[in-house]
Symmetry: C2
Subunit: 227 residues, 2 copies
């Protein structure tokens, strides 16, 4: 399997939250894969992959985009270590996904957007600034200027994701599962491109993040490159 992913000017810097999620899904399933790290402006190398978005997972003739679709595809095609053990887990996950993307990915983006830009190659920098500034309606610098002030409400908004940790070691129970991978993938993106300390060290999610980073001896972080 080949996983097409976004990388920084330094191609070792991988920072799509959605790609990180897929890497964790693949590790959970025990599936081997190679990665193809591409700059934002190198999408033409995806060839006839449609839609041209990351992650894109190539498995033989098939190409699947969207991390949630990839999770479902992996369960259908490789039934070991199911990501979703019941239909209810999957249905609940579809609600939770929207919350993770809004609260965590959206919240972090408003704090690390400029740090993303700094990691990019020159051509992608231009592309990223233009598209993102149009989306948020201000310069990236202005967008993140008050990030310290926004931390309090961001940390409050995380409250629902701390709830499972009152009873379990992971967000999915005694063992890590889809919600863990989805939140952790989002954190990995921010950690990879930014030093911004968005969690306090006494936050249960901070301890959880440490446990997550030690899974499989951290194997999901290191992967050989195809190009």
């Amino acid at each position: 399997m080949k996983l097409f992913e976004l990388c920084g000017n330094d191609r070792e810097v991988r920072f799509s939250p959605y790609v990180w999620r897929v890497k964790l899904f693949l590790q959970h399933k025990g599936l081997d894969y190679e990665t193809v790290p591409l700059h934002f402006v190198e999408k033409e190398q995806l060839g006839n992959v449609t839609p041209q978005t990351f992650p894109a997972l190539q498995d033989g003739d098939r190409i699947i985009s969207d991390s949630f679709e990839i999770a479902k595809y992996l369960d259908q095609t490789y039934p070991q270590n199911m990501i979703f053990s019941t239909q209810t887990e999957l249905a609940q996950a579809s609600s939770l996904l929207a919350m993770v993307d809004r609260i965590i990915a959206g919240g972090l983006f408003s704090m690390v957007a400029l740090d993303v830009w700094k990691q990019l190659d020159e051509q992608s920098k231009e592309y990223f600034r233009k598209t993102r500034e149009a989306r948020v309606g201000q310069t990236l610098e202005d967008f993140v200027a008050d990030r310290e002030d926004r931390l309090t409400s961001f940390r409050q908004d995380l409250a629902p994701f701390r709830k499972p940790l009152e009873s379990f070691s992971y967000l999915s129970g005694d063992e890590p599962g889809w919600l863990d991978y989805t939140v952790m993938g989002t954190f990995m993106w921010a950690r990879t491109i930014s030093d911004f300390a968005f969690l306090e060290e006494n936050d249960p999610l901070y301890q959880w993040e440490k446990r997550m980073s030690e899974l499989w001896d951290g194997a999901f972080v290191e992967r050989k490159r195809a190009v």
Copy 2:
């Protein structure tokens, strides 16, 4: 089993969202129960029930409060028709619960708080106004004054709860489950005490609500009273 619940001046009017959730859990489990409808200011009739909050489910010698704790208790004690089939469903539910309470229960309260007050007996009216106005920092009338303007953002905030309906008939999959009962219980509360049309008729959640209200021939709505 006895279910202590809140009621209006007309004791047929039951309006705790958390009690409605429990009624749906009990129906799902196929368990029979009687209800004890009490006014806000009749809590002393709970006797030595601690904490003195609704719902309170009495099952023999045991009394359980909090709708989520009641769901777990029912699964442990009566293993038929499990509310949570896997630990992951339960762990995910604990996150989702915080979102339902914040987005749906909190959102609806900001629109129907005055309607709740109108349904109460005279003594409870005084108690409710005093405690709730202290909490929200304004009169109930001012609190709900702009509810029409708040509808747009409320309906947008519901987006994550529409996600499962893109693939399934219910929020929990092909069959109703915990998330359905928890959201429906919250809607039942608002519907019972208010005519405020918080959903548009073309909203997938509106159609889902209709399907939910037809479960068990609507049996969960009608229950004989113990007092």
